[in-house]
Amino acid sequence: MENNDNMFWTGLSPDEAREALVTKDKSMRDKQMTLKEAVSRFIKDGDNVGIGGFVNIRQPIAITHEMVRQGFKDITLSFHSAGMAPDILAGAMMIRPDHCSIKRIELAYWAHEAFGLSPVWRYLAERGMVEFEDWSNYNMSARFKAGAMGLPFIPSRGPLGGDICKTSRTKVIDCPFTGRPIALLPASNPNVAILHVQAVDKFGNCIIRGTDATCPEIAMASAHTIVTCEQIVSHELVASHPKDVMIPFPAVDAVIQVPFGAYPGACRRHYYYNGDHIREFHSLVTPICKGGPLDPLKAWYEENIFGVEDFEDYIEKFGNKKLMADKAAESYNCERLA
């Protein structure tokens, strides 16, 4: 947006981010709670929400469902590449803007790779319904990394030469050591990170399998972090493999076991994509972009989110046979003895 020319901080400024962490209780304590409680305690209207995962891998889908149920106002979404998580949040804004509203999006990519484009993103952007700021994947990862390092910025080659330099808050300086141009990216310190991982202990030590995406950096950059996981495991098990821990407990505020919490996306070692469900969701949105009625999308939200008590009820609808098939597909990707 034009205003990106003038520097401002979304989420927390570096000094505010520091202060938030200094005053926070970082002790090693039981952080298990319900998803309802976590979303209600840690996500506020106006917050900058950092979304973990990558495209449709380990996206915090269960958390977005609960956010939609509870409603949110004027939030900023920050992510590199994402698929269903912003789809769910922004789709809710399409049908109930009074209940769910997104003010701003800082992103690199919003689509679904093999499962196509996001009609939700097109709908919002082409109607000017949200302000947004384009970055690249590395730009966003590096901005979270700067936030996680307690730095106001990080240098990068990434946006040089292109229009991202013009439409974002990037500053290009002459390197004081080489004289060549180098881009400085402002840190991102979200108010809250929402993540889904494979395993966590009750203190919040997170074990991630396959890509870490930028989850560790987002967690450490944010003032608060909500983590859902496939398995809550004992601290003793986690501490016997401390090098597998990608996010240390002081960076985590809420731990909730939600099996299939990234579904219909994939979660390494647990389940592969349910592409049909992703496409089905899009098939409800695409006609709306062309002027069709909102009702089918409303019905989807009613059936899958507003009309159920929690994410477990949503998952239940897929039936065991389909869930087992998606688990079997992942077992093929990543063979392991039980």
């Binding site: 993103w121 690249s136 870490d212």
Partner: protein
């Protein structure tokens, strides 16, 4: 496979699709024992084909963090797919993958775009009035993903753009992934970028390089059925013509079979034309 089946398979395919020749061309542009940073979609298919044919020692890197996976579990649906991690030599996250690239570990970057200009700059952000209409574009595209980073830091980039006069434009709506910029001498270096920039462009009509001095797009190979004239006619700017321009051979039956049966049997990225 019998000897006669082998010789059959070396025969030229008569029913290959536009996407299939892109994949075959992409595979052949890749070099054995080099590191390729693979973008999503057709670059993944082409890299798999290269590993099975001319470049068995090719080392794929995916931006979500996998380095050197054997890809024995088939075509990934995403550059962060579980299939990219099994058997890999190194698995971290996005920062690590892009840091390696910025450092100089990626010999090739393999990226797509919705729009390209004569200097190999790519747009995958928006169609519309820029900058005034940036916040309300006519068509909103997915955005850079990792393409801008690959463009800025891979040593050489291979671009894939479907050939179409609206997509081969004199001026882009938005420069997402910089190529040779304005083509001026040392433009990339002076802008602070790394690497030599666009090396080849593969379209649905041919393979192009970028002339050394002017950095302008140049026809290197025409695909079967295309001529220099037919390609120029479908291009929104003047193309240069290589002194050695020649016809790129049609895919063999075996190459097409590998794409259809071994690599992308369900047509995830290489779409089947309805019969």
């Amino acid at each position: 496979m019998t000897a006669s089946a082998v010789s059959n398979n070396m025969k030229v395919s008569t029913d290959y699709t536009a996407q299939e020749i892109i994949v075959v061309a992409g595979a052949k542009v890749l070099e054995d024992k080099k590191i390729v940073f693979v973008g999503t979609g057709l670059p993944m298919v082409a890299s798999l084909l290269a590993k099975l044919t001319n470049a068995p020692g090719l080392i794929p890197v995916f931006e979500a963090g996998a380095v050197g996976p054997p890809l024995k579990r088939g075509l990934p649906l995403s550059v962060g797919d579980s299939k990219t991690f099994t058997g890999a030599s190194y698995v971290k996250g996005l920062n690590a993958a892009f840091e390696l690239t910025q450092r100089g570990f990626a010999d090739f970057g393999f990226i797509g775009g919705a729009e390209v200009d004569m200097f190999g700059n790519l747009n995958s952000t928006m169609i519309g009035d820029f900058p005034a209409g940036y916040q309300k574009p006519k068509v909103r595209l997915p955005g850079s993903g990792g393409a801008s980073d690959m463009a800025a830091s891979c040593e050489r980039t291979i671009l894939i753009v479907p050939h179409d006069k609206k997509k081969f434009n004199a001026k882009l709506n938005y420069i997402t992934s910089p190529g040779h910029l304005d083509g001026s001498p040392n433009a990339r270096y002076n802008a602070g970028m790394q690497g030599k920039g666009p090396y080849r462009l593969i379209s649905t009509k041919g393979i192009f390089d970028f002339e050394e001095k002017s950095k302008r797009m140049r026809i290197l190979f025409t695909f079967p059925g295309e001529t220099i004239e037919s390609i120029q006619a479908a291009t929104g700017f003047e193309l240069l013509i290589s002194p050695n321009v020649s016809e790129f051979p049609a895919p063999t039956e075996e190459e097409v079979r590998m794409i259809r049966e071994d690599i992308d049997p369900t047509g995830v990225f290489v779409k089947r034309i309805a019969k």
